[in-house]
Symmetry: C2
Subunit: 389 residues, 2 copies
């Protein structure tokens, strides 16, 4: 087990009507002027934004708002938010939505306390401070409601999708009401499940030995996702399934399941190029790239892939570790298919002939190689994309 630091300071309020606690929680954390950031129409149409605004107004908490965050949130909206926060002397950022609204809000929180261009932080400059961020989560998936990470796409002829990690953007508090997920369509629910499972699996596949506790914690989250996802897709108003998935999504990415390990993150890196080029849902892209990456790397640790097959996919133990490993990968593909996710380029709407373009922007973003479980070169990346076709 590796030495580690773990600090998960987010104050969670979880359950029915959790969003109605917003004014109390903002006061608890001394918010004076709040920037409310949200996405498209559903937060407005569902009445959620109105309920939040009513609570703020009722409690005498000043706020400004900006909508428009979209899947794969973009730099131009971040610039707009930063300008507004600076002009209005905002001291607290509240995201209402899913991972996109939260990531966009995090970037705005960082940029609002910086005189230069916020994109510098996505080019590697260390973040030194940010406005406090809180969230009301409507889509469990990205885990951004408790994570130290954000992903933003720089628009342009060749879009660049990049991540940035810093403890300064870990939400101060997050309000999670699983009922807010009832309106999520089955496909979007499934994409969220793939995303949370990917967050766990990026941590699970590690070269670090002797990490039974985090092996088991990772498996616990995966087993929950596998059990509960079909229920939420079959019956969108199944509170129990929504609640279990919501919390699974949170602990999948607050690093509590990754302690003592070194994560890999290659599948995320490979997927980012897909969603930047095609604007496909991140979770759908992960359902395509994770199996392909596994097919490429599993021989690096057949014991770990065999453990994954037996403990997560309930495949009977066998002395043929290679066969066991492949059975686990197939079981995962079958599961993704069963909940309506694509598992290859054709189903995703990606094109084999774009692979050189994908590898080219990957090279711009990642340099010559990436990944920790197995080091992936650009040649390897090309092969993995081909395995995904």
């Amino acid at each position: 087990m590796q030495n580690f630091n773990l600090h998960t300071p987010t104050d969670f309020v979880f359950g029915k009507e959790a969003e109605l606690r917003i004014a109390d929680m903002l006061k608890k954390y001394n918010a004076k002027k709040v920037f409310v950031h949200y996405g498209g129409g559903s937060v407005v149409k569902s009445g959620l934004l109105g309920r939040v605004e009513d609570k703020l107004t009722g409690a005498g908490i000043a706020y400004v708002k900006l909508g428009g965050a979209q899947p794969n949130p973009i730099d131009t909206l971040v610039y707009e938010g930063i300008k507004l926060c600076k002009a209005e002397n905002v001291d607290f950022v509240l995201a209402v939505g899913g991972g996109s609204a939260i990531d966009s809000a995090k970037a705005i929180a960082v940029g609002s306390l910086y005189d230069g261009d916020f994109w510098e932080f996505f080019d590697g400059k260390p973040v030194e401070r940010a406005l406090p961020v809180a969230t009301i989560l409507t889509i469990p998936a990205a885990g951004s409601e408790a994570s130290n990470s954000m992903v933003i796409t720089k628009t342009g002829a060749t879009p660049l999708k990049r991540g940035c990690n810093t403890s300064h953007i870990i939400p101060v508090f997050s309000l999670l009401n699983p009922e807010l997920n009832y309106t999520l369509p089955p496909f979007q629910t499934a994409c969220g499940v793939a995303d949370m499972m990917a967050h766990v699996m990026e941590r699970y596949f590690t070269t670090v030995k002797g990490v039974e506790i985090s092996d088991r914690l990772c498996e616990a989250i995966l087993l929950t996702a596998i059990t509960e996802a079909p229920k939420a897709i079959k019956d969108p108003n199944n509170y129990t399934a929504r609640a279990n998935l919501t919390w699974a999504g949170t602990v999948a990415h607050n690093n509590s399941c990754g302690v003592g390990r070194i994560g890999d993150w290659s599948s995320h890196i490979l997927e980012h190029e897909l969603s930047a080029l095609y604007d496909v849902a991140h979770g759908a892209g992960l359902a395509v790239m994770f199996p392909a990456w596994m097919k490429f790397v599993h021989e690096a640790d057949l014991d770990l892939f065999a453990q994954f097959a037996t403990r997560v996919w309930n495949i009977p133990p066998s002395s043929d570790k290679k066969a066991l490993a492949l059975s686990g990968i197939t079981a995962m593909e079958n599961f993704f298919s069963s909940i309506g996710l694509p598992i290859n380029f054709a189903q995703l709407g990606a094109k084999k002939e774009d692979i050189p373009t994908l590898v080219k922007t990957l090279h711009i973003n990642q340099g010559d190689s990436f990944g920790n479980f197995v080091k992936i070169t650009m040649d390897d990346a090309q092969k993995i994309y081909e395995l995904a076709v």
Copy 2:
């Protein structure tokens, strides 16, 4: 799943030489005058206390110290610590040791900011503030390094052992170096394992339905303890086993595995009387009381006990839920025995003829009944103690 709040703000530094970070961490959290609290000789003899004092002196951090915390920490030492903290204008409490030193330090932290008798908080008065507490953990077991709870024994003709929970005593930071556990004798290691498993099982056995995520998280911790405990007992210097057990002990009791559930805590309540009367190790008492409690209550939810048997103890599924439930309980007893723990009064050194005394003080401490999974009356308690004989 129940609505819940979860706030686990403890900043963890985990791994080899973690204790050497003490001065940095105290400065990070603005400690000016530190009260260092510890137990008996091992913290002194091992050189740990000296290393900590050297770091404080080197960093120019003022401190006073008080040793003497003992298993089942007592009120008289708490009064002494409070007097010292008040006299020296201490603003930060650092516990160096196991659960006893930490619990004693927590009570001192609460009492140091209160003009009355700290025992009032153990009589039910809500805690409103406390000095910040941090820990350097030497014995993984009690989970006190990340929990909101403390247990103190009021000395006297009939000792009273009582708990008190408040968010004000959740440690600000905890430094966990598994190497510090190398000197723990096998029996004490085993007692710690029983304690952490009990913390999980008190949460696991609940009447709340639809809590797959926390079912699985609980099982993850139990499975880790079962796998790693024999290794640490066989080879006390097995870093991997010590590290997995240390972290298992922490997450067993910071409530991350108990989300959405209502815990039971009857076995703890029943055990408190044993360790108050006989001064036996808490973990040893739990290894005796938990199986007895299970034998008394399992019919209240055979499905849950069957799940416990199959998922935690790897017993093949069966349509005979009752037999499955009993097999799980037996498997747990066998495990406790295999790591050298007592599983009945005779092995613990408790006496059948003392049961009326145990029930009498239990009644004083708990009123007419306790427990959430099954309500336990005083008659029930007598029967459970008899099952433990």
